[in-house]
Subunit: 355 residues, 2 copies
Amino acid sequence: MELSERKKQILRAVVENYIQTADPVGSKAIVASSGLKVSSATIRNEMAELENMGLLEQPHTSAGRIPSPKGYRLYVNELMEEHRLSMQEARKINDALNLKIREMDQVMTEAGKIISQLTKYPTFALTKGTKQAVITRYDLLMVEDNAFIAVLMTDTQAVKNKYFRLPSPVSQTQLQLLGTLLNTSFTGLTLAQLQPELARVSSHAAGEAYGPINLVVSFAMEVLEELESNVVHTAGIPTLLAHPEYQSLEKAEPLMNYLSEMGGETANLPVVQGENVRIVIGPENVADELKDSSVIMASYDIGGGMQGVIGVVGPTRMDYADLAARLSYFAEGLSRMFGKGEIPPPGGDGGDEEP
Amino acid sequence: MELSERKKQILRAVVENYIQTADPVGSKAIVASSGLKVSSATIRNEMAELENMGLLEQPHTSAGRIPSPKGYRLYVNELMEEHRLSMQEARKINDALNLKIREMDQVMTEAGKIISQLTKYPTFALTKGTKQAVITRYDLLMVEDNAFIAVLMTDTQAVKNKYFRLPSPVSQTQLQLLGTLLNTSFTGLTLAQLQPELARVSSHAAGEAYGPINLVVSFAMEVLEELESNVVHTAGIPTLLAHPEYQSLEKAEPLMNYLSEMGGETANLPVVQGENVRIVIGPENVADELKDSSVIMASYDIGGGMQGVIGVVGPTRMDYADLAARLSYFAEGLSRMFGKGEIPPPGGDGGDEEP
DNA sequence: TTTAGCACTCAATCTCCCTGAGTGCTAAAC
DNA sequence: GTTTAGCACTCAGGGAGATTGAGTGCTAAA
């Protein structure tokens, strides 16, 4: 099913026209915009054939044509030109990346907000562990004689802490002993391995030490659980309403609810690794709520076996080229940022390293 | 301007009818629902007077009456009955409070989500410091010879950490020295006081030590800044669309955008301390976007001079009694939770304290 | 002071009609 | 065989009445 050059030009013209105007594209408009030296009648004949092939469709008999999902797919795969970001776009994104960020979680949330502001579409962001995380180190800091702070480090470079208050006082030496025990017996273990190990050790351990151990190991398990669970952050959901395809509430509400409830849940999105940018068009989506919408997402490396995914959701009539370019640029920026292990210099405010 | 008993009954009937049906309330409906032994004509006369007083209004001549903001205000102040939560409502909230939570920030976010699910209204949540926080303690944990973790504690019991990588190796003793310096010179200072102190110390300190000090103190400043900034978390924004007053996009969109953009920004809401539940009706709101909506919020104590506020936003026709009851119950639960300093027992899974 | 009765008002809804953009088809031209 | 001009046809969108019905205000009697 190879398309003639002219059919390709017409398809491209329909897609690009429709992306801009959101109105069905008529034969005359094609003549005007495509630069083809034929009459509108010829275009009509060609469009009729494109419709038979399932690449275009008509909302009703006397309207122009709009691209079908299949048409979008062909456009994205073969016809779309690589988009370049303008300098100022790129600068905007660079500026956005130079924010004060500390925790992975915050990065996700912030990144989503920025992308949403930039694109005027709702975004979602999530992290995906490619392997199971383990705790590499425990530090216990005495606060008062019945309170301490546990600081945990994982092999993914995450550091988490928690404040513990105990029912009875503990001495500094007891705490040190506890720390040694934790570091020897409870490091390098996955979430699933921690529970049985806790049971094993508790049978040996002195009765007194067991309480605090249980507390800290439970905390360790929570931390690992959190790292492994793909919590989804969403942002900018109301931006949907600015787009004509979501002007009617019946269309907008289910999708908005879907996005809103997606937040916090484990991701159910078909995130494929390896690819940089991935475009899922209309009915290609698994979720019913997304059947009339498209999703564009980019993944980036966080290091330590973690991968981040950030994407935008919008009508099938999105500017795929533009969005794909922005997302992949942003994702590259994030990869770079995490790759360096440190945040790029904030620019101003004195040097960090020289006296 | 004292109202007759009958007028009060009529006003109450209008408000409560309208809260349920969202339709203007006619004189016959009042006769049916209020139990008053008079005819609809009498009610009409009374309602005309209530309208003159500014307590009721008519969307158009031939419609029933709806409460004016002033009418709602009177209802809330004088006529509203204290609402009791049903046992299962209370249990739901209690269950919701028994979640795994670690960081204040997470508590806010989670609490918002829960309330939104419970009430079907959008929620916002924020914390408010009643005084300026200070760092009480620094701990530096060596990771590798050119990397360490700084753990900071504040007087509000918050513990924050950050992983630092250095351009050149540091010895354990250097790190200890650094820790001592930090703990002696940079504790007990407010955000504003840290900057000049950093300048003062840096002139004395050995050149080598300055780099890491600068890093850690900058981090401390970020932490304090974050604690003092009232970041607002929002949840459940799309639930707005389920309510008849936001069926038209022109009404819904500005409010949704307002709420969405409020997230992350410093709060601009008139949060008054001391009161438990606060109700702001329609035009009483300062923000233009809220002039047609009402806000119900409850505050709770977090301890350490921090106060949390959680609220819902909805049409002026909200069930004030019901929502106020739920919010205040929830807020009490949170206060209790923070007051204990520990999370209530998760129920199951073995005891924490006994061997 | 209350009630019954009646004329009046007005949002909401429906129907009908018109308009215009755009199509498909046919027959002629290239 | 391909392209073009011409024409009849279709149909969403929008505006102009017409209809409905809930609810009111007012008046006169109880």
